[in-house]
């Protein structure tokens, strides 16, 4: 087992939207993609970051007193020096309101498995653990080890991933997965690069592998519908056509846009490019489903 640690920016117990039953979802930090509409912007960077939560701060200035030279300065609120070479443990510790917090916590495989075990009694029927992010494949060996450990203990495992990963790693991981959510956001390679920052060649290769392998029935392909970005007839038809030609019975889920995603952008100090978008109406969703069906994918599901 690896002695490495993984940074986790959230552990969500009682997750009911990330697969079957009641689940614990592990959000790993770090993602190779930069989707314009990213819903978890705090999960993008690989390295932990110290944050300041305005709503919690009581402006006692204990952080200022505890600060090492060049660690931070206080001008009506703490500003942390991004170039500071050490950690910020002293500030996180001293802050009485926990307004100063790291955005993530590091876990060993053992520590993480014991967090997962906490809700074991709730997994009994269909539930289990879901690895999400960020991009879980970035964790490489850690991901393999934690999955092996889960299977050893009989815990149902799921992954939510962009599948922007090396095929060899994918092949190594999927035997330990019971449920696979694979995002396919944009089919056209140029558009994919424009909207997510990376080529989709690896992703398409991996999906081809998944849908032609013995694991194909564990797979659910997902497309988040982002108004003005990927929710075009052309894109959905292409995706539908691609996946159904690989496996006619492929499970496919369309996720409606959720406007509340923008709320975390202020916190991490990134601008939310899509601005104010509205989710699609039921009628529009029905229309999208019809497009998908016409293009070949019949098995449209809702988890």
């Amino acid at each position: 087992m690896t002695t490495s640690k993984a940074y986790v920016f959230d552990i969500k117990r009682f997750a009911v939207h990330d697969g079957y039953g009641i689940r614990t979802t592990i959000f790993f930090k770090g993602c190779p993609l930069r989707c314009k509409w990213c819903q978890n912007p705090e999960g993008l960077e690989t390295k932990p970051k110290v944050l300041w939560f305005e709503k919690n701060c009581i402006h006692c200035r204990l952080c200022e007193k505890a600060s090492m030279p060049h660690q931070m300065n206080y001008a009506e609120r703490p500003y942390f020096n991004k170039n500071y070479s050490g950690d910020f443990d002293n500030l996180v510790h001293i802050c009485p309101s926990s307004a100063i917090r790291y955005d993530s916590t590091s876990y060993t495989v053992e520590e993480l498995i014991s967090k997962i075990e906490e809700d074991r009694v709730f997994f009994k029927r269909n539930g289990g653990v879901t690895f999400s992010g960020g991009e879980p494949f970035l964790q490489r060996d850690f991901l393999v080890d934690i999955l092996k450990e889960c299977k050893k203990r009989g815990i149902h495992t799921a992954i939510e991933s962009s599948f922007y990963a090396d095929l060899e790693l994918v092949k190594q991981v999927v035997p330990y997965l019971d449920l696979i959510f694979a995002d396919l956001k944009v089919f056209d390679e140029i558009d994919h690069k424009a909207m997510t920052g990376v080529s989709n060649q690896k992703i398409l290769n991996n999906i081809e592998y998944l849908l032609t392998s013995e694991h194909k029935d564990k797979v659910i392909i997902r497309t988040p519908l982002i108004p003005g970005y990927n929710s075009t007839k052309k894109n959905l038809s292409q995706i539908s056509n691609f996946i159904s030609s690989l496996y006619p019975k492929v499970k496919y889920e369309l996720l409606n846009y959720n406007p509340l995603a923008s709320s975390k952008y202020d916190l991490v100090g990134i601008e939310y490019e899509p601005g104010k978008l509205k989710p699609f109406t039921l009628d529009e969703l029905e229309m999208f489903k019809n497009i998908v069906k016409e293009a070949g994918t019949k098995n449209i599901i809702e988890v």
Binding site: Y20, G21, I22, F122
Partner: protein, 784 residues
């Protein structure tokens, strides 16, 4: 679900009930006072029996043409009944303000106030049970009031599940015959008891007959569709005076008469019907099988009874009405659960109870579902549909947590434990053979801790009310503090028990209850009134208040003061003494720098569990005045607010006089930050021995949860884990728009409220204002 579609009868009855003006009534008080005055030479049991019989014969009665189930204790519906024997000094003080007070208003008639003041109140002054207790022990009770609230001082015993099965099986004549048999061979000290029971049962028979006569008197004026059904009701009333009920309709009517009379005798809260789906099922099955009744007809009858459960309300004083707002009276109906062989059981009638609740959505009955590891998918899913409507009902009880603890810890016969029912809110009882005295007292752990930390001196009044064992600065180690805490608890337990004896004795002396004794086993066999210990089980329940705050306070003391030394003893004690004024950093640390109960953090949860268990084990050293056992419960309903008002600033960071945690098992508002599964895990660390008198866990869910395809299934998964974890009780409030609006204004009370935001779940109070508004906008019941 089979709904009653556009049922005009139910619509009319519901409308009439909700629109009828509500009065405070002195009618029964007048009768009781007269009978007492006329019979001064007789014993109290006799006077009580005669005055109930007189009320049964004289009180004005009323019937609506649409009714299928008749009977009430006043002619008007939802009247507040003034009941002088138990205590009426508050009525003397508050009579004029009843129509204008903030909560639970009643109209009053000027002539009633005058009569009450001139002829009723003067007679009872000094004689009512309330006055007797105050005279004998009032000062002592007041002295400990901030720590131990002694209950049952001004009303008769409620929170009782009568032997409904026997009542239906024997019928009134069967019951009278049984008493005659006993009377023939009785000892002299039993004679009066049997005489009293016969006096009241004779009155009950007349009461039933009066409804028959009353209906025949009004029939000519009723025409159309309701005439025939009304005449049928009259015939049922007459039949019930002659024989035991035979049909489902007759059984329901008989059952309702039983509860009306129990309320007339005792005017107490929470006489509960218990496991209706079990004992009424033979009547239902036989009428359905013979084709005499359809399922729709049965549902209509059930809904008529459901309406009746809402027609008896309890007149409370201003303070009490604030905390028990909305006239709750606790007709608790329990469906499902284990049968006598230990197998899961439910039937069509269980589902009908849920249907009726779904249709009517009224506050009564208080519907409870008993669950166990073999509970059916069907019953759970039907119950979840009702939960999703958001009324907080049904609530769920866990056989796996309750039956064993009742049997092992309380020595309840296994078959009685299997057949447990719920009375009032969440109080547990055996069925038909228990005077459970479930709300004997509330014991405030947090006040005891306060006194332990501060030389026995109250932080709010500076008066010494506890033992002086030192203070936080003099306890060198956390263990020293715990030793002192234990001594302080022991002291107040001892004081509490002395008061309990006085209260129970006053009930025996002032409020013997012959009718109730007829329907509680084994009073008739023992020839002994229920207040004297005639019942098979004679329990007394003490509520432990509130373990969540206690665990949080002890955890803060242990970690921040003793282990890590981040807050000095002097600093903390000084901060508590001034309610954290000028000590905001300390308060903020207490709130944020130590783990809290309700987050599945074992060492914190166990601090609470340990003291609850200690208190529970001390109960074994005492026997109550009826010769029964003391045990404990962990529920407050809404008393966490007044109980909090008694407690100064506490080490968990809570300000003086602010509410304690709600519920009883729940975490402090907003401190359960790890979601519902973590709450259940934390609660499961409290031994079920501590909640044989009942426990209460509140949980909130967003309506959108039930709105997805898989929502109800996942909810069932959650309930099944609740069963596996052996937590005794859970109830679900569905978050409403008003909650979210309140969370915007008072975020500190809603810190744990989470909202699904795209790929993750966020804390509502941490979202920006405009996003909060969007969520508020989408949270509406129209989607369900």
């Amino acid at each position: 679900m089979a709904k009653l579609k556009n049922n005009e009868r139910i619509e009319i009855l519901k409308k009439k009930m909700l629109e009828a003006p509500r009065y405070a009534s002195i009618e029964q008080a007048r009768i009781i006072t007269r009978v007492y005055k006329e019979n001064e030479e007789l014993s109290t049991p006799k006077k009580r029996a005669l005055s109930l019989a007189a009320a049964l014969r004289e009180l004005e009665i009323g019937v609506e043409p649409e009714e299928l189930i008749v009977g009430n204790r006043t002619k008007g519906v939802r009247y507040g009944v003034v009941f002088p024997e138990s205590g009426c000094s508050w009525i003397d003080r508050e009579f004029e303000t009843l129509p204008t007070r903030d909560q639970d208003k009643f109209l009053v008639r000027d002539e009633d106030i005058k009569e009450f003041r001139e002829t009723i109140y003067p007679y009872w002054k000094g004689r009512s049970m309330e006055d007797v207790i105050r005279h004998n022990y009032g000062e002592k009770i007041d002295e400990i009031a901030k720590v131990v609230k002694i209950n049952q001082k001004d009303h008769a015993q409620g929170h009782i599940c009568p032997d409904t099965e026997m009542w239906l099986h024997l019928g009134i004549n069967g019951l009278i015959d049984k008493i005659h048999q006993k009377q023939k061979k009785c000892k002299s000290e039993q004679e009066e008891f049997y005489e009293c029971t016969l006096i009241v049962l004779d009155g009950v028979k007349d009461f039933m007959k009066r409804y028959h006569d009353h209906i025949y008197g009004m029939l000519d004026a009723v025409d159309g569709q309701y005439r025939e059904s009304l005449q049928n009701v009259a015939d049922i009333c007459l039949a019930l005076t002659q024989r035991a009920p035979e049909t489902f309709h007759e059984a329901l009517q008989s059952l309702w008469f039983l509860f009306v009379v129990l309320h007339m005798e005792s005017n107490a809260s929470s006489f509960s019907p218990g496991r209706m789906d079990q004992y009424l099922y033979p009547y239902y099955r036989s009428d359905i099988a013979s084709g005499y009744m359809t399922r729709q007809k049965a549902l209509e009858l059930m809904e008529c009874l459901w309406l009746k459960f809402n027609q008896i309300v309890y007149l409370r004083n201003k303070n009490s009405a604030k905390y028990f707002a909305g006239f709750p009276i606790g007709f608790n109906v329990a469906i499902g659960g284990l049968d006598q062989d230990g197998n899961d059981t439910y039937n069509d009638l269980s589902l009908l109870c849920l249907d009726a609740q779904y249709d009517l959505g009224l506050p009564q009955p208080n519907l409870s579902v008993r669950l166990n590891k073999n509970s059916s998918h069907e019953l759970m899913q039907e119950a979840i549909k009702v939960v999703a409507k958001g009324s907080g009902m049904p609530q769920f009880f866990n056989d796996e947590a309750i039956v064993h603890a009742m049997h092992e810890d309380l020595g309840i016969d296994y078959k009685d434990a299997l057949n447990y029912a719920i009375v009032g809110c969440v109080e547990l009882t055996t069925h038909g053979n228990n005077l459970g005295w479930s709300d004997a007292a509330m014991f405030n752990f947090n006040k005891v801790l306060e006194l332990t930390l501060n030389n026995g001196v109250c932080l709010l009044t500076d008066k010494k009310i506890g033992l002086d064992l030192g203070n936080l600065e003099t306890y060198e180690t956390f263990e020293d503090l715990e030793v002192a805490f234990k001594k302080q608890i022991d002291y107040f337990i001892e004081e509490m028990m002395k008061a309990e004896v006085v209260v129970e004795k006053a009930h025996q002396d002032c409020l013997p209850t012959a009718f109730l004794s007829c329907v509680i086993d084994d009073c008739i066999d023992n020839g002994m009134d229920v207040t004297r210990g005639g019942a098979k089980y004679n329990l007394s329940g003490i509520q432990m208040i509130q373990v969540a705050n206690l665990a949080d306070s002890l955890a803060a003391l242990k970690k921040l003061v003793y282990d890590e030394n981040r807050i000095s003893k002097h600093e903390l004690l000084s901060a508590l003494q001034v309610d954290f004024k000028g000590h905001e950093i300390t308060q903020t640390m207490l709130l944020n720098k130590v783990e809290k109960y309700g987050n599945d953090v074992a060492w914190v949860d166990e601090l609470g569990a340990k003291w609850a268990m200690y208190f529970r084990s001390r109960m074994k050293d005492y026997t109550n005045y009826r010769g029964g056992k003391y045990h404990t419960g962990m529920y407050t309903v809404s008393a966490h607010v007044p109980m909090g008002e008694n407690v100064g600033a506490s080490p968990d960071g809570r300000n003086a006089k602010t509410p304690l945690a709600d519920g009883g098992l729940s975490a402090v508002y907003g401190r359960d930050m790890s979601g519902p599964t973590a709450v259940l895990k934390s609660v499961s660390r409290i031994s079920n021995s501590c909640t044989t008198n009942g426990g209460l866990l509140n949980m909130k869910f967003l309506p959108e949860f039930f709105n997805t395809q898989s929502g109800p299934d996942k909810f069932e998964d959650f309930l099944r884990a609740f069963i596996d974890l052996k937590v005794c009780h859970i109830q679900f409030n569905v978050v409403r728009k008003e909650d979210l609006l309140d969370a915007k204004v008072h975020p500190e009370n809603h810190r744990s409220l989470t909202i699904r935001v795209a790929g993750y779940t966020a804390y509502f109070v941490e979202l920006a204002g405009k996003l909060q508004d969007e969520i508020i906008e989408r949270t509406s019941y129209d989607h369900i």
